[in-house]
Amino acid sequence: MLQIEDLWVDVHGKEVLKGIDLEIGKGETHCLFGRNGSGKTTLLMTIMGFEGYEVKHGKIVFKGEDITHMPLNERARLGLGLSFQRPPTLRGVKLRDMLRLCGNGSDVGVQLALEYGFEAFLDREVNLGFSGGEIKKSELLQLLSQNPDLTLLDEPESGVDVENLNVIGDMIRRLLEKDKHRNRTKSGLIITHTGFILNYVTADRGHVMLDGKLVCHGNPIDIFERIQQNGYEECAKCQF
């Protein structure tokens, strides 16, 4: 699904990613751990293709196509999707219309909003006055409408209360076809600090980012436990 080879990325002239190699197979979910500022979000933003993330070296291949210099919206159409951690407010644009835009005119997102008890938000302006949890739900509904093959999730559990974690977890499971045990086609890359999301979504592989490099790879739950016990530095020293 996704192959990243020796990726070096600058942001505002500062070197942030320093030689990333990463491969995510069809139907796989990977987790990305790491301190604030280690480069996790930069990796997601670079894969998606936002302006300001300058690829100095290396390449990104998605579904067999080199997308390293492909425009943002073409990547989205090819099957990449990203949930924003702090999305902007779109004044005058209703969530109902946004969901249709994401779904290329389809009503799937609106139907799901009803299913998840989010109908009161359909006629509200996108993200205007939404709480942390509401933003996450709105983002995930947009992604469910968009139906990407590889979903990039930046801290999907941050700012969400325990009650709503269930709902968020369920939406992510749906996005990543977690109920399918065979022939799963959807893949995911999830940044998590708290690891809470691992209680809801099983991940196949975990990676630790330290200062722009992926320093450790392995079973996500094992990695997360080691980070909790020993911190990121120790985790970096350990080689699975």
């Binding site: 943002l72 989205a76 902007p88 779109l90 005058g92 644009v93 968009q146």
Partner: protein, 393 residues
């Protein structure tokens, strides 16, 4: 030269450039208007074939072509007739606006072409809107209009006014004096759509007074090019608990100078005022004014001026003013002018929209001011006009 100076051309000089409307061609009957003209009127909010408009007033140049109203309890007359019938309308005519205010008020006082008088009798609630249209049909004509609207105690009235020019005409001058009276517990919704041409000068002079418990809602939409508009309607909330709200949606293409805004004077306790304007410059000059004057305790008023610059040229000058005369007032404003935020465009592009589609979506949203009581077809026309004006740039 500042953007303010470009709008204020010499008033007397301006008047001399145009010939009086009473010297221009006269239209006797609606049937004289061709399909193209009817379409133009429709796109300005005036539908001559609509079933859901209960009254229509149409003035072309100086002549009233149509003035009919089917609602009992609502009176609609050309102002010249109303002045005769009601002995000069002494309680209403030039009572809110000083005829000596400027060259345009003087001109209209001395050379009145016509205008409308609309009165909803006490307790009369009109469900569907009445429509009025001030139409300049010939080139280089100065149209001088005086309108009076009276919503008597407990009545409700919605008026849609479309002001436009012949599809093939480029220049004209429109002077419109409007005096509106909203009596105790009454509600007046006034929606005005401007659809002028590149060399048309527009000088409305409007004043409104609202009595106890009354409500005045004004919607103003101008999406097409115009040489210059200068307007500053003033609404005085005279009675306890009165409410006024002004919404404006203004788009200025290159070559347009639009200096407009609203003033609400909150004179009585517990009155509420709100001014919301959304302006877009595609190279034109816009002055977006707003002035709230709090003169009584326990009033609440808010002002919002949002401007979007969508071309390298052009000016948006937002002038929000708050003026409190007593301590116990709650008045606020927010003003923001700038280009579309890159992150908003990228947010939509990450969902698969092209840059152009993303920009259109944001512009449509920006102009999407909730206009209460707007008929569906006019709302659709506006959406389409927004779309077109965006594509055309």
């Amino acid at each position: 030269m500042s953007v303010l100076d470009t709008i204020h051309t010499n008033e007397e000089e301006l008047l001399k450039q145009f010939k009086p409307a009473d010297e221009a061609q006269v239209v006797k009957d609606l049937s004289e208007l061709d399909e193209e003209e009817r379409l133009r009127l429709k796109r300005t909010g005036v539908d001559l074939d609509a079933q859901n408009r209960l009254g229509t007033f149409l003035q072309t140049n100086c002549g009233v072509v149509s003035c009919s109203c089917d609602v009992q309890g609502v009176e609609m007359l050309p102002i010249t007739e109303a002045l005769k019938k009601y002995d000069g309308l002494k309680d209403y005519y030039w009572r809110l606006i000083d005829p000596n205010k400027d060259a345009f008020t003087k001109e209209t006082r001395e050379h009145l072409d016509n205008g409308y008088f609309i009165r909803a009798k006490a307790g009369q609630k009109v469900v569907y809107p009445l429509q009025t249209c001030l139409y300049i049909r010939n080139d280089k004509v100065a149209q001088r209009v005086h309108n009076i609207v009276v919503a008597e105690e407990g009545s409700e009235l919605h008026i849609i006014t479309g002001c436009t020019t012949h599809p093939h005409l480029t220049s004209g001058l429109h002077i419109g004096i409007s005096e509106f009276y909203v009596k105790k517990g009454a509600k007046l919704i006034f929606t005005m759509v401007h659809n002028w041409a590149e060399e048309v000068y527009v000088r409305p002079r409007t004043a409104i007074v609202v009595e106890e418990g009354g409500t005045f809602l004004s919607n103003y939409v101008s999406l097409k090019g115009v040489k210059s508009v200068q307007a500053f309607p003033t609404c005085t909330l005279k009675g306890k608990g009165a409410i006024a709200r002004f919404n404006s949606v203004i788009v200025a293409p290159e070559g347009s100078h639009i200096d407009t805004g609203s003033r609400i004077i909150l004179e009585a306790p517990e009155t509420r005022g709100e001014i919301i304007s959304r302006t877009i410059s595609y190279g034109g000059h816009i002055v977006a004014r707003g002035h709230l004057v709090g003169k009584a305790p326990e009033i609440k008023a808010h002002l919002e001026c949002q401007g979007l610059m969508l071309a390298e040229k052009g000016v948006i000058h937002a002038i929000p003013e708050l003026e409190a005369h007593v301590a116990d007032v709650d008045m606020s404003h927010e003003a923001a002018v700038g280009k579309i935020a890159k992150e908003e465009i990228e947010y939509l592009m990450a969902r698969g929209l092209s840059e152009e589609e993303a920009t259109s979506t944001i512009v449509r949203g920006f102009l999407n001011v909730k206009i209460e009581g707007l008929p569906k077809e006019l709302d659709e026309e506006l959406q389409q006009a927004v779309e077109e004006c965006h594509k055309g740039m």
